[in-house]
């Protein structure tokens, strides 16, 4: 195993930035997000995860899909050049690494491949950072996630007091280590630190089966009462993947773009003519929790929650998915 001094992390990022665009959690206007590394910046690789999940590196909050020109009655369309930018995503926690597998299910399976997502995903190497301290809102272990070792990544890092340990998992990870060989030394005595142990848990065993019998249960009326439908949970969720498609016109040219959408909003399902299958926050909140805990497991065989805790940390009315799981398991049918 190799190691690098924490003092040299900027140099490491500089080396990787020569061959790729490097994204790493940094402080940015009061929040922490995966931001492009430009030689300097306030890294937030200490305790806790970036407030904003890294999903927008694969699935940007706003993304141009194609351009067009309309001179009635004629119109033409121009596809975008393939995205070839190589990227390295550094400091991804185990929970967010699992979210990539969930997003892969959505965007890369079931008959259709989303080309926009695929290009970014395939051109990105992922460097994980193990958690040694859990935040009060962390519950990744409830989903069988190991905070000390991420799934599906190229390179794993572990924090020690003054250094990081590094282990390549894939050829891409090995290549990253080779690029940085001058900065790395052999870790002789250091041991991989103990993984964080979240105190918060969600006992999700059997919750899917229970929810399958609860669609009409009065619980949803009660639990949705305090929701204000702001949608913050869906924007901060690393696995929420809903999007809208819209046009932006300037004169006779324009472009089609997609942007994040939220099942918490009434516009999301409202049809032309006014029919609304989910007329109130009860139906919308129910759909969100059922999607995470029942529909996604039914469709893809895994929960669409990774226990990152962002939603319960930032919800203005303290909606807590771990409590919802507990209450769902307790209610009588």
């Amino acid at each position: 195993m190799l190691k690098i001094s924490k003092d040299q992390i900027g140099e490491l990022l500089n080396i990787w930035a020569k061959g790729a665009k490097v994204f790493v959690p940094q402080e940015n206007g009061g929040t922490s997000q995966f931001k492009a590394w430009e030689g300097q910046g306030k890294l937030t690789l200490g305790e806790g995860n970036a407030l904003e999940p890294p999903k927008d590196l694969f699935f940007p909050r706003t993304e141009t899909m194609y351009r067009y020109r309309v001179r009635d009655p004629e119109a033409s369309l121009e596809e975008l050049a393939p995205l070839e930018e190589k990227r390295v995503l550094v400091g991804v926690r185990s929970c967010d690494a699992r979210s990539f597998a969930i997003m892969d299910d959505v965007f890369l399976t079931k008959g259709y491949i989303d080309e926009f997502y695929r290009q970014r995903r395939e051109n990105t190497a992922v460097v994980a950072l193990a958690c040694t301290t859990a935040q009060p809102t962390c519950f990744c272990t409830s989903f069988g996630i190991d905070p000390g070792r991420a799934e599906g990544v190229d390179l794993q890092m572990w924090p020690l007091a003054d250094s990081y340990l590094l282990e390549a998992i894939t050829p891409a990870g090995k290549d990253l280590l080779e690029q940085a060989a001058a900065l790395l030394t052999e870790a002789a005595d250091e041991k991989v630190p103990a993984a964080a142990q979240p105190s918060l848990t969600a006992d999700v065993g059997g919750v899917t089966e229970k929810l399958q019998q609860m669609f009409e249960h009065p619980y949803w009326e009660a639990v949705s009462r305090k929701c204000i439908g702001c949608g913050a949970c869906t924007y901060l969720c690393p696995t929420c993947h809903c999007f809208d498609i819209q046009s932006e016109n300037r004169g006779d040219s324009g472009y089609k773009f997609r942007c994040w959408d939220s099942c918490m909003f009434s516009e999301y399902t409202r049809m032309a003519g006014g029919h609304q299958p989910r007329p109130s926050k009860k139906e919308r909140l129910r759909n969100r929790f059922l999607h995470k805990l029942q529909y996604f497991p039914e469709r893809y065989g895994k929960f669409a929650c990774v226990g990152c805790g962002r939603c319960l940390d930032r919800c203005p009315v303290s909606m807590d998915i771990t409590r919802v799981v507990r209450e769902v398991k307790e209610v009588t049918l």
């Binding site: 899909m65 194609y66 067009y68 309309v70 009635d72 009655p73 004629e74 119109a75 033409s76 369309l77 596809e79 959505v106 965007f107 079931k110 008959g111 259709y112 491949i113 989303d114 080309e115 926009f116 669609f215 993947h241 809903c242 999007f243 809208d244 498609i245 819209q246 046009s247 016109n249 324009g254 089609k256 997609r258 959408d261 099942c263 999301y268 399902t269 409202r270 049809m271 032309a272 003519g273 029919h275 299958p277 989910r278 139906e283 759909n287 059922l290 999607h291 029942q294 529909y295 996604f296 039914e298 469709r299």
Partner: protein
Amino acid sequence: MANAEQVNPLVPQIGKIIKIVEETPDIKTFHVTTDKGKPFTPMPGQLAMFSLLDVGEAMFSITSQGPEHLELAIKKVGMLTDALHEVEVGQAVGIRGPYGNGFPLEMMKGKDLLFIGGGIGLAPVRSLINYTIEHREDYGRLWIIYGARSPADLCFKDDLFKNWPKVKDCRVDVTVDKGDADWKGHEGFVPAFVEKLGPKPEGMVAITCGPPIMIKFVLQSLEKLGFKDEQIVTTLEMRMKCGIGKCGRCNLGSAYVCLDGPVFTLAQLKQMPDEY
């Protein structure tokens, strides 16, 4: 069922409107083709994402097709459809698809088919009616029951009153909610009309589409007549953006209407949340 020719499923082909038929005061049928001919070849009941590039894109059923074109019957109900009703022949459009499962043709083979449509809901059903007429020997008797608000709102009048009644073993019954001075046909809502006509469920499959409220009552009427859940087929509509099961909004439980639907049997629907 991804279309091999379309590399990026979210990017439409550019098509052109070559004919517009005014069906009713608020429904027009658009015939669409491309420079390379028919945009794609859908099965009955499948869907197309249709757009005016600078206005918007929405999912529509494909009501019929010819060797070189697709037909979409579109009711004026919102921003995009208002704009579509203003365009003229020659207008460039975006089109992508085909999407969805389509009608269960194998299950229907050899059966008598009862088609029940209301308003613009006849559009998706018509793709199957025309298909079964083209493959007449594969199906039993055809019975079409259709209703609209008024005589002026009856869609596909040529088919209802000229073409379909001429087909061998094909019966057509039409009702309107309220007639006018010239109307000599039946007056009344579709579900009650169905019960009055009293089709027998033996060896029959019922296919229904219309406004959500009509579908709900027609399903009750069919159950009253003794149709089993497996004998009743309907096609649903939901707001859609991607059409390929990714954007999230058209889910009914863990199924996506754009991908796993829009056609479901009542037996399937009863296994799913009542949220359409």
